[in-house]
Amino acid sequence: MATATAPKFADVKVGDELKPLVLPPISRHQLALYCGGSGDHNPIHVDLDFAKKFGFKDVFAHGMLSMAFLGRLVTSWVPQKQVRGLGTRFTSITWVGDVITVSGKVTGKREKDGETLVDLEIKCTNQNGQDTLQGNATVALN
């Protein structure tokens, strides 16, 4: 994907929606890659025996993997250097096989410390329509 070209502050309206990002189903392979790539070696995400021992039916995705998807959505809209904040609550578990859609919309426009800022509500939703992450982002636009 090419580097994003930022929209203009004046052109953005509250309620505007970002183009959603639909991801391939979460695979065990992806969880293994994220285990190595993130340095989060918690076995609960890659070792089925360990996950079952702690009461889970299967391994499940790292919350931070899904948060990385939130980041991808935001940086598909504006260049990363214009991102001022990214946050989320992890509201339900993302299982192997889940198909996650990342969506976002503009919730506010404001000025702070000489910058014009746009606030976004962003979330990950699974194939059943359940939100797995409910997050927000703030970006600076000219």
């Binding site: 090419a2 391939p24 992806q30 790539g37 989060d40 993997l65 990385a68 990214l86 946050g87 992890f90």
Partner: protein, 153 residues
């Protein structure tokens, strides 16, 4: 199981992490990120960055370089199989690029429980500064601990 609220205010030893291109490459493969600013120095510089850039949430991966990795679990005396990530927030002050030597300082800022002690919440804040002392980012995370005793009741 009950967590000790006296641990509120505990500061972990700071550690430094060097941002490496190979780690960013594997991180990007795992998250499906293909923008060349995360892999190609020329492309990153052309886009206005100082070098190959760390993705927004890669900052959390810097914790893998903490020689005291897992320190929170040892501090709390909690098994890794009992924790979940409840929240994560970042404030960004400047992009982090390959070659940066980032000093990370983390502390526990709150501990509380819900559902009659069935779930415990540990709030940590982290500051990340570059080799010149300039603030790069602040992080705030909430770790959820499932109380194994509550499940037995």
């Amino acid at each position: 199981m009950e967590l000790d609220k006296k641990l509120i205010g505990h500061e972990f030893d700071p550690f430094t992490a060097t941002v490496e291109a190979g780690k960013i490459k594997l991180f990007c493969k795992a998250i499906g990120e293909e923008d060349p600013i995360y892999s190609d120095e020329a492309a990153a510089k052309a886009a206005g960055y100082r070098g190959i850039t760390a993705p927004l949430t890669f900052l959390r991966a810097l914790q893998a370089d903490d020689p005291n990795k897992g320190g929170l679990l040892r501090l709390l005396n909690v098994d890794i199989g009992l924790i979940l990530h409840g929240e994560q927030h970042f404030e960004y002050y400047a992009p982090v690029v390959v070659g940066d030597v980032v000093t990370c300082q983390e502390k526990v800022v709150d501990i509380y429980d819900k559902k009659g002690g069935a779930l415990w919440f540990v709030v940590q804040e982290m500051e990340m500064k570059d080799q010149t002392g300039k603030l790069l980012a602040k992080g705030r995370g909430v770790t959820v601990v499932r109380n194994p005793d509550a499940a037995k009741k």
